[in-house]
């Protein structure tokens, strides 16, 4: 049994003119120490997936179908009080903007001690000891001194490290990182990613990395889910997906990555024409068909199923005409 198992998850938001389905039939698993990437454009449902796992979809949204199993327990059925025990304790989450996610008027020490004491009955002294240990783990120099400092005294990269340290406090089994490096510059991005990989290995933690950056995903993760308009359209081992994307959308994302080639016409960045549809006006058939270069008649009528690719172990793609696949 996997550590985290998401089955046929559907999240919908109750709007004035009916339900809007933000996540449609999403299933995946995450094991101990496994690093899973979730990729997609803005609004594809990546973050909603993350929040759904910790059952923190804000109103008017709700989990309308499916199951979230953590260690065999149905998290989607947990009460708010039971969920608080899970959040931060067994599953932690890191956000995009480290400038915003720390409380500006409390010292780092206060915030860390409080987090620990919310989950365990320990003294402030003991909590501080643990906090120092975790700050050390994320390579923050002289952690004792840092505890008395305020968030504005740190740089962006340092703050993200502190946030990771806070996420690590209770030794969670899973960390959900929602675009953890988008607000940071590239060198620091690399450092943070290395840190995350290192922590996954040393602490045997599962990582759910939510990002729009395929480059980061290729570096960090072992498996990838590609999402489009609330659905998983392709999932594969990262190396397979990067070397031979099968869904035209994945292929398009790959082509939109800057490479190392010369700057001639062939190596120009290619963008995917159009933009992702608003969730209220998804076209019938395959939701990607209006932007797809390989679109045929059937694509505009029938929704392609997420099927296993013949001859592969666990590669799924949802396309009528996958690239390089014999249909």
């Amino acid at each position: 049994m996997s550590l985290l198992e998401v089955k046929n998850l559907e999240v919908s938001f109750a709007l004035r003119h009916g339900d809007l389905v933000a996540l449609n039939d999403v299933s995946f698993t995450l094991d101990k120490g496994e690093r899973l990437g979730i990729v997609g454009e803005s609004g594809a449902g990546k973050s909603v997936t993350g929040f759904a796992v910790i059952n923190l979809i804000s109103k008017p949204g709700r989990i309308s179908k499916g199951e979230v199993l953590f260690d065999g327990q149905r998290l989607d059925r947990f009460s708010e009080k039971e969920m608080r025990e899970i959040r931060g304790n067994h599953i932690s989450m890191i956000f995009q903007d480290p400038m915003m996610t720390l409380n500006p008027v409390l010292t780092i020490g206060t915030q860390m001690v409080e987090t620990l004491r919310a989950h365990r009955k320990i003294s402030v002294k003991e909590a501080e000891k643990i906090a120092i240990k975790k700050l050390d783990l994320v390579h923050i120099p002289s952690p004792e001194r840092r505890l008395t400092q305020y968030p504005h005294e740190f740089s962006g990269g340092m703050r993200q490290r502190i946030i990771i340290a806070i996420a690590l406090l209770a030794e969670p089994a899973i960390i959900i990182a929602d675009e953890p490096t988008t607000a940071l510059d590239v060198t620091i991005q690399a450092e943070i990613m290395e840190l995350l990989i290192e922590l996954c290995n040393s602490q045997d933690m599962g990582l759910m990395l939510i990002t729009h950056d395929l480059g980061v995903v290729a570096e960090v993760t072992e498996r990838v889910l590609v999402m489009y308009a609330g659905k998983i359209i392709e999932t594969a081992a990262t190396s397979d997906l990067v070397t031979s994307p099968m869904h035209p959308y994945t292929k398009g994302l790959m082509n939109a990555l800057p490479g190392h080639g010369t700057c001639d016409k062939e190596n120009r960045l290619q963008q995917i024409p159009g933009s992702m549809p608003n969730l209220t006006e998804i076209a019938p058939g395959c939701s990607f068909h209006p932007r797809c270069a390989f679109c045929q008649d059937i694509c505009t009528k029938t929704v392609p199923e997420l099927r296993k690719v013949a001859g592969s172990k666990d590669r799924l793609v949802s396309c009528h005409f996958p690239i390089g696949g014999q249909n």
Partner: protein, 306 residues
């Protein structure tokens, strides 16, 4: 590592305080007044509460520098023959006590209601804020008149004298809490959608803890500013009530009841009984408000003058 003293020394608060003459003068006057009020029993030459120390023959003596004035009574005496300086010191003590007590009560009720309404939102918010609106639609004076009339009737005037201080604190506190509730709620609405609040929820903190230890500290600067203004307002309200004869009894006068007591004799020439307490009240209110203005400017980063 910086010591606490060093941090205070380097703070912008102190820096701007030292550059603002109005704030410094106001603070100095306020400090003198508050100390005088606090140590009134030590400073006052006479005890105005002690009937044996009062001689009715001394009544309505003018200030010492005027004709008929006696050096014993620097600012003269009131209608009962009490030394005006002593009575004013004791009166200020009562006024300040009521003012601060009422503001603490307002703050506790108002911050609690404002935090709950703002953070939880929805129906709870609607109900609590409508209650606040209803409360605001009664004027402080009206509530005070009704309540003190009822208390005077049911306990008798004798008991009322003992109950007057806590009663006035409760009346003024209850009448003005919506000010706090509205201010705090508005700040909470601004804060609660910030990412650090979401991060706190993701960590698994409960609502109470998020409200008290994460959101509240971020809403404190407007609370500090209205607190100064509200102290001035509460002292004013108390003076107004006492002036109308609904506040402190004449035997334990506050500034307001002193002004009231002297007012009847203003045309018979004994102007000092009203004049000096009135000046004291005006000075007190003015310095508190000036300090409040300064604090508002300092705590508002948009007005940061560097």
């Amino acid at each position: 590592m910086q010591t606490r003293r060093q941090k205070i020394k380097d703070s912008y608060l102190l820096y701007s305080f030292k550059r603002d003459k109005v704030a410094m003068v106001s603070f100095a006057i306020l400090a003198v007044l508050l100390l005088a009020a606090l140590f009134a029993p030590l400073l006052a030459p006479y005890n105005p509460y002690d009937p044996t120390a009062i001689d009715i023959m001394d009544s309505e003596l003018p200030p010492s520098w005027m004709e008929e004035g006696e050096p014993r009574f620097f600012l003269g005496t009131d209608i009962q023959g009490r030394d005006l300086v002593s009575t004013m010191l004791y009166g200020l003590r009562i006024s300040v006590l009521i003012g601060i007590g009422a503001v603490i009560l307002q703050a506790v009720i108002g911050i609690g209601v404002g935090l709950t309404a703002g953070y939880l939102g929805g129906k709870i918010d609607a109900v609590l804020m409508r209650i606040a609106d209803v409360q605001l639609s009664f004027s402080t004076l009206m509530v005070a008149i009704i309540v003190s009339a009822i208390v005077q009737l049911s306990f008798g005037v004798g008991r009322y004298e003992q109950l007057a201080v806590p009663l006035l604190i409760v009346i003024i506190g209850i009448a003005e809490w919506p000010q706090y509730a509205r201010t705090v709620r508005a700040s909470v609405l601004g804060e609660k959608n910030k990412e650090y609040v979401e991060a706190a929820r993701v960590i698994g903190l409960d609502s109470r803890r998020i409200m008290l230890s994460h959101i509240l500290p971020n809403t404190l600067s407007p609370v500090l500013v209205i607190s100064t203004v509200q102290v001035a307002n509460a002292v004013m309200s108390e003076a107004a009530l006492s002036f109308l004869g609904l506040g402190m009894p004449v035997s334990r006068p506050s500034i307001g009841s002193l002004i009231d007591a002297g007012f009847e004799y203003i045309f018979s020439g004994a102007w000092w009984i009203t004049f000096f307490p009135a000046v004291l009240l005006i000075v007190f209110i003015l310095v508190v408000n000036l300090l409040g203005d300064w604090l508002r400017d300092v705590l508002n980063p948009k007005l940061y003058k560097g």
